[in-house]
Symmetry: D2
Subunit: 345 residues, 4 copies
């Protein structure tokens, strides 16, 4: 079985594994208070041109999302997300488990929400005489790229940021696959933009070459107050925090993170062109490492004998949208084999 169902099927980039091996016997303090974490945080601050940002290394994306949201909101406040947003549909109600509602906004297959939607929602809340009987919208959550691989343009992120600042909202960006949104065709929003426009965002490692780990960047100092207490309380503080510092130290050096993303994206585009050549429409326009062709059921059954992929959405009686992912570890020969098999269908 050749696997394309997700981008967390393998371990980590050889450079990451090597750094872990080389530092294996170095003694450091625990809980992220070591020199590797300090150095990796400093590299991230530099790349973000955010010298005052706080950087925290957590283990996984769900954890970053609910920990940051729990730290940022008061009990009556809610997060706003696209109806297909990860916190709305794939985190087992983890935000609700911290006491907060996720208010969802309708979105197309690309999974994006707009500044206009956010403004309308917030204005409607405050205009309603009974607003105290409803959760108060307070934080906007987006992911870049979205759940379905689409990216927000710089203009869209700027508009969301402006809406948040005007309406007194916190702007938080989930970057589980952020690298791919930095380098893909059409990308125009860089790390410095995110650091300038969001109150917090994270740079995902798990799906971009690390064994595991996400780097949360908090640029709004008020939201960083006592964050480590809450990180510990919610299980996100790794005893051997240095493991995260070592990994991000490597990823953030010499352009490794970006090169890894570029490779993922390039392989994904080969698949995309093969799908298009075959006449399979795309469920949504993803320029990143996830591709979502709409394929006849019968064909899927044949492909599934040799390849794994994720079921995404039923489109009509005979067609489904499925997801193929590439990762840092995807082998070119596997991509070529899949393309050849598709052409031969």
């Amino acid at each position: 079985m050749i696997r394309f169902e997700s981008d967390y099927l393998e371990g980590a980039l050889p450079e990451v594994m090597q750094a872990l091996a080389e530092t294996n016997f170095v003694q450091t303090p625990g809980y992220g208070e070591d020199e590797y974490c300090a150095a990796a945080a400093e590299k991230i601050r530099e790349k973000c041109a955010a010298p005052d940002a706080a950087v925290h290394f957590l283990i996984g994306g769900t954890q970053v999302n609910f920990t940051f949201i729990a730290a940022a909101l008061r009990p009556h406040q809610a997060a706003i997300a696209a109806e297909s947003g990860h916190i709305a549909v794939h985190e087992s109600g983890s935000v609700e488990a911290t006491g907060h509602k996720v208010i969802t906004l309708p979105c197309g297959p690309e999974g994006k929400i707009s500044a206009a939607q956010v403004r309308s929602l917030v204005e409607a809340h405050w205009a309603d005489a009974t607003h105290e009987h409803q959760p108060q919208p307070r934080l906007v959550y987006i992911s870049q790229p979205t759940e379905n691989g689409a990216i927000y343009s710089l203009a869209e992120i700027e508009a969301l940021s402006r809406a948040c600042r005007e309406k007194g909202l916190i702007f938080f960006i989930d970057g589980a696959r952020l690298g791919t949104a930095l380098v893909c065709p059409g990308a125009d929003a860089g790390l410095r933009d995110l650091a300038r426009l969001a109150d917090a965002f994270y740079i995902g490692g798990t799906k971009l070459g690390a064994l595991f780990g996400e780097a949360l960047v908090i640029t709004n100092a008020e939201l960083n107050r006592d964050f480590r207490y809450i990180e510990k309380q919610r299980g996100g503080m790794l005893a051997k925090g240095r493991l995260l510092g070592v990994q991000f130290g490597v990823l953030m050096s010499g352009g490794l993170y970006e090169r890894t993303a570029e490779r993922e994206v390039a392989l994904a585009w080969r698949l995309r062109r093969a799908f298009e050549a075959k006449g399979w429409p795309l469920y949504c326009d993803s320029p990143t490492n996830q591709q979502f062709p709409i394929v006849p059921d019968a064909v899927l059954a044949r492909l599934a004998e040799k390849y794994s992929f994720s079921d995404w959405a039923r489109v009509d009686e005979n067609h489904r949208a499925v997801r193929f992912c590439t990762s840092w570890a995807t082998r070119e020969e596997d991509v070529e084999a899949l393309i050849a098999d598709i052409e031969a269908l």
Copy 2:
């Protein structure tokens, strides 16, 4: 600086690192549904003689504790722990953050609670006419070894188990350093005993040779129902779950886990004997890899120039109890150096 302040100062056993490297490019499904996890779980079930037990691999100890407790209790129910228990004092209120009180029982410096204490507490609860106005005690939490390195004897664990069963309580054992309690002088409770006597317990990896990871063993099937939902919800489900399966597969093979623990314990006893030879009393009787000498402040200041250790408790105006830990990675020459320096004081 030679570090003895904790047992999570380094990475992982070479065998573990090698297994991670060897399996790095193997493709597996995510979220612990891979063959490595299945195989490691099977090994654990065998070692525990618990063929029906469920085994879940989580990232860290705090996470296991609050996730299992949140899954096991209804909203009005409370956990019972020693007043020095880890969930009572060192997890940032993570159990309370899931909505549950931790009821504490007094304990000596060894950090142990007794079946008699548990019985009294529960009987007092139900005898009180206003018991509905108090959290209902429902789960007994102990750690083996305790926070202060002491161990429960088999007889003590059997008594606690009997008390729990008679009183309708869940019995949960935190095994962050469980290996050391299996092999240390005086140890008489094995994995099979824990599996037979507790409803759930975990086998700690982080402090016993793994990079990170804890294996939660749930022998009470009712408490395992839907556990994976809650594991995901609370951030404990690693995307690349296979990393945990690979590590525990190695640790649970060929006696590696026990050998690692034996080495930790043996080195700790060398320190213990040096403390005793020096005339430093021990704050508590720990037969495991943590040792707690009571040392004059002036001496501590001198030791701190070369060695790190943890401050534990002020004993009198001029003396403190401090903690020295050994780990899988502690070097014999460092132990010898420390002993020589103590002797030379």
Copy 3:
């Protein structure tokens, strides 16, 4: 100002006030363990033909909803409600504050959901390979009448009950205005039906002649276990619980509750006929004590000089749906005055 904006604008029925005055100096134990509560509960059990049901008296509707839901669900489980359901839109996220997601189903202006919708939702959940990454649907919440005054037929409630039992769901009915649904035109589901078909429901007092108070009837004994702990924990247990027992004792005697509801409904239908006669369409078909005419904005401005009503929904650029409520205290002359003013517009 003559007020029609809600049905909790006044105090309580004279019979209720008199009973409170008459019993004012009687000494009783606190927290609902008094004879008045016992007697009122027994009357409710008789009316429901549910001799084994547990009856708890709580203070208000929001409190009953979140307390029962918190008591009934495990942490990963969710409630299902209409998208216009009270717990989804008007309780400030109180269910989420207990840790649970409210999954909403689309509904028309009547605010009803169907057994088919529930089945589809639950089947989709379990068919999804990633269901552990989503909150588990476990409880169906409806209100009778709905937020918008519509009622479920007996057949519809039976179908929902069947769906819940087949799918392992808890069926809970919010009866804040239940009386009106028992007596209005078209009503065919009685208290005995609810007791037979739901796991729990409540009989609202606040909006039907009591000063305050709701009677929660739990017919599923398993869901009643330890309920009083959770009632206390969430602030729903009144110290002078007897106040609730006294009130429900009166309401449940001699048909007072039903007569009160009949009067509310009869007055509401007078308004309804006046709206229809004026050619104002109804936003939804409510046979109960709330009526929702769609009225031109200019007309509303004039009405608002003399009458209060609730803004409900903007229908188009020039029309809004508004709510007029009648209550046990609504005076016939006020209804007549409003009708005359409408006719004269």
Copy 4:
């Protein structure tokens, strides 16, 4: 049976009942936004000399406590209370159910904590290198009078207030029986003092002549932000909020609240003198409406044939401390009967 077991055995003062009856048919908006609440709040602000204070009327004491605490704390923060404090022992873990630990301080039978204890606790927290692994103490909860009827002197409250301000803590006073602490022998802290020294406190109505209801006074404006959302979310916002406004309007006029308290206290002191005359020691020195004699078991058995009282604490093999309460409704003849029976024993 003549009942002395608590002070919530009867309904309400005749003046309160009359005011409810007189206003029964007046129409008002719901949720506390009516003129009765506004007027009662204004009276309270005047009595407190706190023109800018926010006043909220909630239903019961447990609800005020957990709602205010939930509104005031961030997720990692804890409340500090006496080990016998109401939130620590008699509210079914309601504070923990909102996610927060209650850190308890040892106290004598009077149930008081001191500024020195608070300072030590907070200093120890911040001095501990691992403080991020512990809940952060952030709010001091006391009750005036305490659970056991003792009162804090003005000097003690001033010292606690100073400690809180110096250490950045919120100071919250539970006043379930506040009236009795304002008027009893030795009382020297008035409403103006509490308003000046605490961030928030409440004036209890349930136990001082109201049917039910507590008036929460928040003098720290920052802590009042969005409080009504949270009040609604936690079930504390009464639909017919005017019922609370009407009651407090009466209680706060013409000295009724103080007169009621004076009467309660005077009757309690008659009992106290009878206990002392009999040679029964007092479990603690309560100058308010609760008295705690230590009585031989055999005597208690005889008294229990005719009188109810609360079991409080076992003192030795043959003696128990029990509680006798007086209330606004306690009849002089019942007090005289009890005294006569004691004398005759």
